[in-house]
């Protein structure tokens, strides 16, 4: 018998729909795998054994009755703690939402269930998606499956760790400044942040509403395309979702990239970039060049301001979005307050972790009267300049290639006392969120110490098809197969 947990979502779906294996067998294989290794990795915050098997049985019943099954039939998936599910809890890995049960499913959750995916449970994250190491979770620690003393990245660290340790075939995370791509790079999996507006955010607990986007973390590029076919599309409940015709994101997989122009932004190949990462990214560039892509140098001159702009815009939006957690309607309420204002203060002071409080204060400050023009308004203007940089660069190329992170996964505790050092981890990923364009991180090898290294491809807004085509071409021709870590 094969180990189904080692297979890709595409292979599983084919086998389940074709009757080679039952969805129950596949789900059981993954649940056993979770029981065997997740105690070490700590990706899952909730495992839904009974419910997953019931979902799998429903898929098997459909097949037995000769009914058509969905695009993810029998594929075991996991969801980041901030994607609303009526089942289980939606805690955002925060004490303030401990035990919170959402009365509704997010649009993405609904779409996944409608396409017959099997939800195994929820996975860990930095509290409210604020962080780059998953160390800010109020629930538990998550380890990098390749080296348990290291972080998996973040904020979708549980998602990346679960895909890398083969405890879910696809995991759905969210990316506000690199939160899908950076952990994907650290854990050696594929992570796609779609164009802003491509995927409905209804039911995604908001961090920064103009930057957030849900996307898949997968073992390969085909699975990312498959996942996109299911989750993307206009949603009347999200006014920012784009009204575009349905698209098959797998359609360009396998097409030649001969003549495609790939731009290397000179501002990304800077001193902060480690030499091992640089060498592997250059090797990846060569693979694409050998497939007929034309490599050109491009410039994104406002890159150096991206992190500063982000740390004004994102906390500003977060301070507004998190105001609702006041202990009145849901979640944690401090039990011991003498009046309502003391209840607010105590609830927020004890319910939110240190990093979340830091960002709420930062956001409130930059939005306050007297500072608004100097910080928030200025940052919005620079954000426009960053977007224009990409518009200009995409006149000279179809795809932009960069490193995903300056270094490989760091050890736990290494950067947790220095917020600025932690923020700089997202130096290569933040710009795509500010400009709203899609980005994908792919594994391109391992460092001397055996840690995965990733590189990033970016495309024009709503051109995920070309992005996935290029990524797939790389994957087919690069000899990079990390496999599954020994756990």
């Amino acid at each position: 018998m094969s180990n189904w947990f080692e297979k890709s979502a595409f292979e599983i779906r084919e086998a389940v729909a074709g009757g080679t294996v039952t969805a129950r067998e596949v789900a059981t294989s993954f649940l056993d795998r979770i029981d065997a290794v997740d105690e070490k990795v700590g990706a899952y915050t909730q495992v839904w054994h009974d419910e997953a098997l019931a979902q799998a049985d429903a898929v098997d019943a459909k097949i037995a009755a000769g009914k058509l099954v969905g695009a993810l039939a029998g594929v075991p998936i996991s969801l980041k703690e901030l994607i609303c599910t009526q089942s289980g809890e939606t805690t955002c890995s925060s004490k303030i939402l401990a035990g919170f049960q959402s009365p509704y499913d997010a649009t993405v959750t609904q779409k996944l269930l409608a396409d017959d995916a099997v939800v195994l449970g929820k996975v860990n994250m930095d509290e409210f998606a604020m962080g780059s190491s998953t160390e800010n979770s109020a629930v538990q620690k998550t380890s990098n499956p390749w080296d348990l003393s290291r972080v998996p990245g973040g904020s979708s660290g549980g998602s990346a760790a679960s895909v890398a340790s083969a405890t879910s075939a696809i995991s759905f995370g969210s990316d506000t400044g690199g939160s899908i791509r950076q952990p994907a790079a650290f854990c050696g999996c594929v992570g796609l942040k779609p164009t802003y507006g491509r995927v409905s955010r209804y039911g995604l607990v908001a961090f920064a509403s103009s930057l957030d986007q849900i996307g898949p973390l997968t073992r390969d590029v085909r699975d990312a395309a498959l996942a996109m076919n299911v989750i993307s599309g206009k949603d009347p409940r999200d006014a920012t979702s784009a009204d575009l015709p349905a698209e098959d994101f797998t359609k360009k997989l396998g097409d030649s990239i001969a003549g495609l122009k790939i731009g290397l932004p000179k501002e990304y190949f800077v001193d902060a970039l480690g030499s091992e990462v640089r060498a592997l990214v250059e090797k990846a560039t060569k693979v694409l060049e050998d497939q007929g892509a034309e490599i050109v140098e491009v410039s994104l001159p406002h890159t150096e301001y991206a992190v500063s702009v982000y740390y004004i815009v994102a906390p500003a939006e977060a301070s507004a979005n998190l105001a609702r957690f006041d202990g009145v309607r849901y979640g944690f309420r401090h039990p011991d307050a003498k009046n309502v204002s003391e209840m607010y203060v105590k609830t927020k002071s004890e319910g939110f972790g240190e990093e979340v409080q830091r960002r709420i204060m930062l956001g409130t400050y930059v939005l306050s009267s007297g500072y608004y023009d100097a910080y928030y308004l200025k940052a919005q203007k620079v954000r426009t300049l960053i977007t224009q940089d990409f518009d200009e660069a995409f006149k000279a190329c179809d795809i932009i290639l960069t490193p995903t992170t300056p270094s490989t996964a760091f050890t736990m505790g290494e950067k947790s006392n220095d917020p600025l050092e932690m923020y700089l981890n997202d130096i290569f990923t933040i710009s795509a969120n500010l400009a709203g364009i899609p980005g994908i991180s792919l594994p391109c090898g391992t460092s001397a110490s055996g840690l995965p290294v990733g590189f990033q491809l970016l495309s024009k807004a709503f051109d995920e098809a070309t992005l996935l085509q290029t990524a797939h071409c790389y994957e087919q021709h690069a000899d990079v197969n990390l496999g599954i870590p020994n756990l």
Binding site: L204, F325, Y330
Partner: protein, 53 residues
Amino acid sequence: MEYEAVIGMEVHVQLNCKSKVFCGCSTNFDAPANTNVCPVCLGMPGAMPVLNR
């Protein structure tokens, strides 16, 4: 001493429409308690307002 007058007005109007401004819930006055509500008008985590058409 010089003063700058800043005058604000807060206006409460009951809109003449069948559903609430940011969600599809009915504005029917006589409904039983807790029936004309949804995740959006309750401000549940993850819910997003969409302006009434």
